[in-house]
């Protein structure tokens, strides 16, 4: 029988079928962070059980960490407590941890791939919805809740019902100035925030194949924003090249792995529950105008006057953003630019931004901060001299963490201010109470920082 890439991985990880739907799924890699794990460790203590397989879980502190003066103690007592709790839990249960002072620390979805812990054919979970990022390597990766974190700690498995499957093909090539972020914002705008609920999405087509690993991670990262359980992309030469110099699991040679990885493709005649096809040439730089990631438009389009959502929801959203139907965002002044998050804080994103702003200056009305996804990204940026380019353009380079992606740590956008952000969510209050988020690609964000307003980066590149 023809099978999909998803089926191939899924079937290899079924420990037991419980009933017609539920299965016990074995997990190859489990990432944990400070926010969604404390209650799970508490549960283990109450049950008096150990972590089932400590070698398959790794932790890092990211959501609560400050991005300035990381050598000093964390100021906020609650954040400090949560970060410390993670350290204590990992120590007590024997779980490897990259804490704030470790050279491998960073946003959980940035460090997995760069450390070679994310590989094709694996099942990967984390108590974090953007775990879908790891699907870029051809793995089944999805976010779980804290009860499920406890399931994995206690048994290395989760109870699962097989999701439906969707394929999204992007044919042709992206225009210059249009990136992976625009691609995924475009797809989400087409499908809507609930458009892929209940499904796992395989991305395919020329435009996807042409993306770097970083670009693929950006695409898979935002799968959850259209409700998908996860997204994945078949591994190919780009994937193998990325993994070549990464650490291999003990006792397995790279060529052995390679032989296995090459089998991870969707059969020609495999059937999906639903398929979509889009033309890459139709994708333009995207911006969001509302309070969910599905409310996206091409840079030169007006905010639509009709919508599938109820009027009350749209009105509430536009009211929060201070926008009216029919408004065009291009040319609109902004207050902040945030370049960071697990969507766009990898070295490639920083390179792209640096290349664009080299020799330019940020606009006076804008505050710009760039937050690398990990200590390794920060180190590499320094090595390549990107830190100097950012500094001379007036961009503030901070230390690794989730930062202003979510209003949980010190980095927040003030109420009423407009922030062009490379992160993944523009929900009400996501970047701080009252903050108004406009999601965009790193290139669009960099261009906005320089111009002090929203611009079509394609025009700037000419």
């Amino acid at each position: 029988m023809s099978t999909t890439l998803f089926d191939k991985i899924w079937n290899k990880h079924i420990v037991e079928q419980i009933d017609a739907k539920q299965i016990i799924l074995y997990i190859d890699k489990h990432f944990i962070h400070e926010v969604t794990s404390p209650q799970a460790f508490d549960g283990l203590r109450q049950r008096n059980v150990k972590v089932f397989n400590t070698s398959r879980t790794v932790g890092t502190a990211d959501h609560n960490v400050p991005t300035k003066n990381q050598h000093l103690p964390i100021q906020d007592p609650l954040s400090k407590k949560q970060v410390n709790q993670l350290s204590e839990n990992c120590k007590e249960f024997g779980v490897e941890l990259f804490d704030l002072h470790h050279p491998n620390q960073g946003i959980v979805h940035v460090i997995g791939p760069e450390l070679g812990m994310t590989r094709p054919g694996m099942t990967i979970v984390c108590g974090d919805s953007h775990t879908s990022t790891h699907g870029a390597f051809g793995s089944i990766a999805f976010g779980i809740g804290t009860s499920e974190v406890e399931q994995v700690l206690a048994s290395q498995c989760v109870l699962q019902v097989k999701p439906k499957q969707m394929r999204i093909k992007i044919n042709g090539q992206l225009q210059r100035g249009v990136s992976a972020k625009d691609l995924i914002l475009y797809v989400i705008a087409k499908l809507g925030v609930g458009g892929a609920t209940g499904h796992f999405v395989e991305y395919a087509g020329e435009a996807i194949e042409s993306l770097s690993m970083e670009g693929r991670m950006t695409v898979c990262n935002m799968s959850i924003e259209m409700g998908a359980r996860g997204g994945l992309i078949a591994p190919d030469q780009t994937t193998f090249n990325y993994l070549k110099d990464k650490v291999q699991p003990e006792g397995i040679r790279f060529d052995e792995s390679l032989t296995q990885w090459k089998k991870l493709t969707t059969d020609e005649s495999a059937i999906f529950d639903i398929e979509y096809e889009f033309d890459a040439a139709d994708i333009a730089p995207m911006v969001t105008y509302g309070t969910n990631p599905g409310m996206g438009i091409k840079i030169n389009e007006a905010i639509p006057s009709t919508s599938e959502s109820s009027n009350a929801s749209v009105d509430k959203s536009l009211n929060y953003m201070g926008f009216n139907k029919g408004k065009i965002l291009e040319g609109m002044p902004i207050d902040y630019v945030f370049i960071g998050s697990c969507t766009n804080a990898r070295i490639e994103d920083l390179r792209e931004v640096a290349q664009y702003i080299k020799g330019k200056q940020k606009a006076e009305n804008v505050e710009v901060f760039v937050v690398p996804g990990s200590q390794l990204v920060a180190k590499q940026a320094k090595k390549e001299g990107l830190d100097k380019i950012l500094a001379s353009a007036g961009f503030e380079l901070r230390q690794a963490g989730c930062s202003a992606c979510l209003g949980m740590n010190e980095d927040k956008i003030p109420a009423g201010k407009y922030c062009v952000s490379t992160s993944n969510r523009n929900f009400e209050g996501r970047q701080g109470p009252g903050a108004r988020t406009i999601l965009a690609s790193p290139l669009t964000a960099a261009a906005a920082a320089i111009a002090g307003k929203i611009v079509d980066v394609r025009k700037e590149l000419n």
Binding site: Q22, Q39, D42, G145, Q151, Q260, S310, M408, E428
Partner: protein, 197 residues
């Protein structure tokens, strides 16, 4: 976790669509390391203004609407995987959430915390909102055993779907973690012959 029993109660309507977990419980309230007390901050920024005063128009601040059921618009619980959203809803006192569509992770999190998510047709949801609007004291009977939802003695009567395993867990207050722990020997055996490349 205690078992889910059949309930008879009134409901609180929240007819917004795409309510995300950042609204249910904003990130700045996720710093607790226990599961308790999140109900206080349920829909925090819709309930209170920056000066911590109650916002008049919001439904949870309206004495007229009470009950153990929350009825919400399409795509409830989208966004983050934070189980804190389910804890907040449970801690506030809701035992059932009705919507025409739930985000996957939220649905799982709710079930894992003894909260029953009931999915109904868009049209039924509309009728439920209308019924509450006409009479805030409208009663709802939820029978998990029979998988039925009955509004005001039969005005609306539907059956709903639930995974049989999850239903059994809910009714018996059975914990999925204990279940998996009981399977450790089988998992051990699987693990021995499983290679991760």
């Amino acid at each position: 976790m205690s078992g889910f029993t059949n309930i008879q109660t009134t409901a609180v309507p929240l007819p917004m669509e795409d309510i995300d977990t950042d609204q249910i419980i904003p990130a700045r309230f996720l710093k607790s390391t226990s599961k308790l007390g999140f109900g206080e901050n349920l829909f925090r920024d819709w309930r209170y203004n920056a000066a911590h005063e109650k916002i008049d128009g919001f439904i949870l601040n309206n004495e007229t609407y009470k009950g153990e059921i929350l009825v919400a618009g399409r795509n409830f619980g989208c966004g983050s995987s934070r189980e804190h959203a389910a804890w907040a809803i449970g801690d506030y006192g809701f035992k059932v959430v009705i919507s025409s569509f739930f985000a996957d992770i939220f649905k799982n999190n709710a079930l894992n915390n003894g909260i029953l998510p009931i999915t109904v047709d868009q049209e039924v949801l509309h009728r439920i909102f209308t019924a509450i609007e006409e009479n805030p004291k409208t009663t709802f009977d939820v029978s998990l055993t029979h998988q039925t939802l009955t509004v005001e003695g039969g005005k609306i009567h539907i059956t709903f779907d639930i995974d049989p395993f999850k239903k059994e867990c809910l009714i018996n207050g059975m914990d999925t973690i204990d279940y998996l722990i009981s399977k450790r020997a089988v998992i051990e055996k699987f693990q021995q012959q499983h290679i991760v490349y």
